[in-house]
């Protein structure tokens, strides 16, 4: 089955990740910020201030939900409590879409709270596809899976990361959140071509872009999401816009939060880079 992102999900424009540091500033609804992405787990609580803030932003912006704990690739059973809370939150928020990561976060009942890469094998592929189908059935919607930054690859892998991601999306009929920074980080850490990665991803599946910053380590690039978007990632973003066209795009900052205008300036830079290309293509 071939899916088009225009089938059911909207194009949202340019957005930001919602973080506590920017709550007050974002309430003013700056015109450049067209939508917000919320971290699902931050609002999977019983009550109190987090949900009050969430409702305020829901009144002002289109929202999407982005999770970090689905652990879609784990060999532990899917966490029923997690899925129930996620489904309940989705009913409250009515997000444009729900996303998580193509990874595992724990096994044997222990959670590493990290986005651990999978071996890219046929076994892992079948396993992930079956679980995505289960989650989509549970949430009654297609989900987006995001590529993670990685520092290890496994001797057993038979496929490239992009072949694996593309195959999961096709077999499970899910969509893709392409983190441009993560593509760059993993390409540098594993020595593959980021452009090959982009070429290997089916355009019709890409629903959202993340843009973020990283830290250069001694040997490896560390995906910190705590810095400005690098020039290399901006260059790759241009290539991604050429390949995938008009895709909802956001800056994802997870730490070292600058004043909101700095993030908005980055978001505007994305717009300045993308819009002429999209206009030419139209």
């Amino acid at each position: 089955m071939t899916a088009s992102r225009s089938d059911s999900l909207p194009y949202l424009g340019y957005g930001l990740g919602l973080r506590v540091d920017h709550y007050e500033a974002l309430l003013a609804k700056p015109a450049q910020v067209q939508w917000l992405e919320v971290v699902s787990e931050n609002y999977m609580v019983d009550g109190g201030l987090p949900l009050v803030w969430l409702d305020r932003f829901r009144e002002r912006y289109p929202l999407v939900m982005h999770g970090v704990s689905m652990s879609i690739g784990s060999t532990d059973p899917l966490d029923e409590d997690y899925l129930a809370r996620l489904a309940a939150l989705a009913r409250r928020v009515e997000p444009a879409w729900v996303s998580d990561h193509l990874c595992w976060t724990g096994v044997q009942g222990v959670n590493l709270h990290d986005l651990m890469p999978l071996p890219y094998t046929e076994e892992a592929l079948s396993h992930v596809v079956s679980r995505v189908l289960c989650v989509q059935d549970r949430l009654k919607r297609r989900i987006l899976l995001e590529n993670v930054s990685s520092y290890v690859s496994f001797a057993q892998s038979q496929l490239t990361e992009w072949e694996f991601l593309a195959e999961v999306a096709e077999r499970a009929d899910c969509l893709i959140l392409l983190d441009i920074n993560n593509v760059h980080v993993s390409a540098m850490n594993h020595g593959f071509s980021a452009l090959d990665y982009l070429r290997g991803i089916p355009a019709s599946r890409v629903q959202q872009f993340h843009l973020a910053g990283y830290e250069q380590g001694e040997q490896l690039i560390i995906d910190t999401h705590d810095a400005a978007v690098s020039n290399a990632v901006w260059d790759l973003y241009v290539q991604a816009v050429r390949r995938f066209g008009r895709v909802s795009t956001m800056i994802e900052r997870d730490d070292h939060f600058p004043p909101l205008p700095e993030l908005i300036a980055e978001l505007e830079h994305a717009r300045v880079l993308a819009e002429p290309l999209l206009k030419d293509a139209a």
């Binding site: 704990s69 096994v107 222990v110 651990m116 290890v152 496994f154």
Partner: protein
Amino acid sequence: MSTLQAIQQQMLEAVLAANSSALPPIRSDAIADAHSRLAVYQHGYRIRLRDALKNEFAGLERIAGRSFNALLDAYVETHPSGHYNIRWYGAGLANFLQGAHSDRPQLSEMARLDWAISTVFDAADEPSLGITELAGIPPDAWAGLRLLPQANLHTLDCAYNVDAFRRAADRGEARPHLRRYARPRRLLVWRQTMSVHYRRMDADEWQVLAAARRGEAFATLCAILAERHGETAAMGRMVALLQAWASAGLLRGIG
């Protein structure tokens, strides 16, 4: 065991045991060897859990001083996370400190207060019974009714002035001197609408609140005070308690 299960188990064990020489089937290449690659996950795991704890235990940081990071590291090394949400990782810290640092009981006491504040913050919303509603109850109905305190409030017995340390942390003030009380003080932690509060309770309030939480009738609450202070004084104290509880949003209803 499938290949995927085996790989995940090996990765898990390698990340948890930072000094293990056993390596999962990770590729080495010209960019970095397998040990360096694994080390990114080992380091990140510890930083992430420690940071999550730092967010929740502001009072403990004040009372522990320079040993704070070492306390957290010891917890991280011995307590893998069992919950999908890292927000709950600190649930076992107070018990850990009680066992590992029995010579410094103020640490576990402080951690219990920090955790109570943290859990009240995003506990389920509850209705609040105000003074107006209480005033509307017919006089002859009082004896048999039951006051329903907030289900999510916490009470703590404290031998040390841990609330002063938490207050100093909340206000960015200097570290207070540690004091040990001759008799335990009782602390109350609750949320009124969206604000979390904590304060000390006297013996009257502690006993009456405990009885109300057990579901005792209002007449029994009055009898507790009458036994301590006599019938006449008891009524005045009960009225004062009711006014304080209602204005602080401590009552969710009557039953």
